[in-house]
């Protein structure tokens, strides 16, 4: 196969992705420097960096950045640690293990919107929710989760969806761990933690990297869960960058400012991506 043909075969994916990235990106950058308000189409013209300034000085800006990072970090830690624990727990033969498996991974297949609705209405509602019922039963004052701990609630909701993803990957990976190695370690009298750190964890290094990468991509732009539950509030307590831009663009009708926010989001994503590309780059080379 010659060079030209190689290039020809690669062209569709490269060109399409380039277009998919460059056209909107350049439009976003262009919009971010002009006055563009859907409700006031007569106002127009180049405004330089004032949209950026407006977005940047929005009191919600720093909280949104911070919330984005807290959200991504917490969910990653929870899902990997809990995922590892459950995967190790279930990595033994027992009856109806297949059913337990199916129960554990199911939340991953539930739509984020539905997931958020279940938690909002049936779990966390301060009057009818099951958490409130449990609290009342044991004589504790029920908590209005989404109003009092909005960010924590979102973290719980997202973790419930994505821990099963980690479990699914880790438990399948564990099955490919050499049984003989495990037995040899047992015979050598290696304790549980020694086996975990010297055998299990190294074996799971690549799956863990992959779980981190895929999840980070999805969590940086979490939208549906916030849209359905807290709407970013109360105040800005559960507004992440994606939601802030959304509220500027589609609720504020200000395309210019929203585009400036989009540029900020892209910069943040790229900072995170640099770490990620290193991580996955190593895996590619391996």
């Amino acid at each position: 196969m010659n060079r030209t043909l190689t290039r020809l075969l690669q062209a569709p994916s490269v060109v399409l992705l380039l277009l998919w990235m460059l056209i909107p990106l350049s439009m976003t950058i262009y919009f971010s420097t002009i006055r563009y308000h859907l409700l006031y189409p007569e106002r127009s013209g180049f405004v330089g960096f004032s949209n950026y300034e407006f977005f940047y000085t929005d009191p919600a800006f720093w909280p949104a950045i911070l919330n984005t990072l807290i959200l991504v970090g917490s969910v990653l830690i929870i899902s990997v640690v809990l995922g590892l624990a459950v995967a190790v727990l279930i990595d033994r033969p027992f009856r109806f293990r297949g059913i337990a498996r199916v129960m554990l991974i199911s939340p991953f297949f539930i739509m984020p919107t539905v997931n958020a609705l279940i938690w909002k209405n049936m779990m966390m509602n301060p009057i009818y929710g099951l958490f409130a019922v449990v609290a009342n039963t044991i004589g504790v004052e029920p908590v209005d989760w989404l109003a009092q701990f909005p960010l924590l609630s979102i973290i719980i909701i997202v973790s419930w969806q994505w821990t099963p993803f980690a479990i699914l990957i880790f438990m399948t990976s564990l099955q490919s761990l050499d049984q003989e190695q495990k037995e040899a370690a047992l015979l050598d009298g290696a304790g549980f933690w020694a086996r975990f750190f010297n055998l299990t964890l190294p074996h799971l290094a690549r799956p863990i990297a992959i779980v981190l990468m895929i999840q980070m991509i999805f969590h940086l732009s979490i939208f549906a869960e916030i849209f359905v539950t807290t709407g970013g509030g109360p105040g800005t307590q559960s507004t992440n960058l994606a939601f802030l831009i959304f509220s500027q663009a589609l609720q504020g009708f200000d395309v210019g400012v929203a585009s400036a926010g989009g540029v900020f989001a892209i910069i943040l994503a790229n900072i995170v991506a640099i770490f990620l590309v290193r991580l996955i780059g190593k895996n590619l080379a391996a």
């Binding site: 992705l17 727990l89 919107t113 209405n121 549906a224 989001a265 892209i266």
Partner: protein, 278 residues
């Protein structure tokens, strides 16, 4: 009484199994509760304390059937998630093949660049895409959503396929070239059959992700090309406390893909771990 090692081991095993079941029950409980609620009347759905035993009713389901066009939304979900996946696979298979069997110095960089486009937050480019679709009259159409779905999944699909194709021994390809196989023949007769597991799992993963995709579906489609995600979203805002109906519509929206996921879980993981897990 001193326990022998064997007894202790068995005890630990019993505790672990019990713990596994408790965790499994906790994870599954919200789904179980949603399905249960969908068979209650609205009054029972918000009863405090909640009722576990009740006379199941199908009224929520019949009401949804009457009020909305469930099958249309379901069909839209099928069309867009399968269509987007198919389009992405058609673009990705030749590309990944070329990259895997004729790599250049830049192949790795291209792949990493592709993956990095996945990290651009959708919301950052929502306005341009929305305006382009509006200008072209593509708002609320299958075509727009299929194309966008293909683009957002293309990087991950490329990555997975590349890793699969790389594991095919080069000698097989070379032998077929000696026999005078064309490039098209190589892809369809040799690469695709050999990497079938990887191709299937990649497609499965893509379908699951697209079925549940919310951002583009909610912002670009409504009644015509709206997916099940849009249908569920339409039940949220004004309906207030109609939990039973909401549960029923959610159950209907999730059931197909959850069952699909159960049936294909092993295949799926292969794709998710980039072929690292056999």
């Amino acid at each position: 009484m001193q326990m022998t090692d064997k007894q202790r081991e068995r005890l630990i095993n019993h505790i672990a199994v019990a713990a596994a079941w408790i965790v499994a029950a906790l994870f599954f409980f919200p789904i179980f509760w949603m399905v249960l609620t969908s068979f209650k009347t609205e009054l029972e759905a918000i009863a405090v304390p909640p009722t576990l035993f009740f006379e199941p009713t199908l009224e929520n389901y019949t009401l949804i059937e009457e009020r909305t066009d469930y099958f249309r939304f379901a069909l839209n979900s099928v069309i867009t998630s399968f269509g987007g996946t198919l389009l992405a696979m058609l673009i990705a298979i030749p590309s990944a093949y070329a990259m895997a069997f004729n790599p250049t110095r830049r192949t790795k960089d291209i792949l990493l660049w592709m993956l990095s486009t996945k990290m651009l937050p959708a919301v950052g480019v929502l306005m341009p895409i929305y305006l382009i679709c509006q200008r072209l009259g593509l708002l609320d159409t299958h075509i727009a959503l299929i194309f966008i779905f293909a683009m957002i999944n293309l990087p991950i699909i490329m990555m997975i396929l590349f890793n699969y194709f790389r594991e095919i021994p080069k000698e097989i390809i070379e032998a077929s070239r000696m026999d005078g196989a064309t490039t098209f023949g190589e892809i369809t007769q040799i690469v695709m059959p050999l990497a079938w597991g990887g191709i299937a799992s990649t497609a499965l993963l893509s379908i699951v992700l697209l079925w549940n995709e919310a951002f583009w579906s909610i912002n670009l489609t409504s009644s015509d090309a709206g997916t099940l995600v849009v249908l569920v979203a339409s039940f949220t805002a004004p309906e207030g406390l109609f939990w039973a109906k909401l549960s029923a519509v959610s159950t209907l929206a999730c059931a197909p893909i959850v069952v699909f996921g159960w049936l294909t879980q092993k295949q799926l993981v292969q794709g998710l771990t980039f072929g690292a897990v056999k």
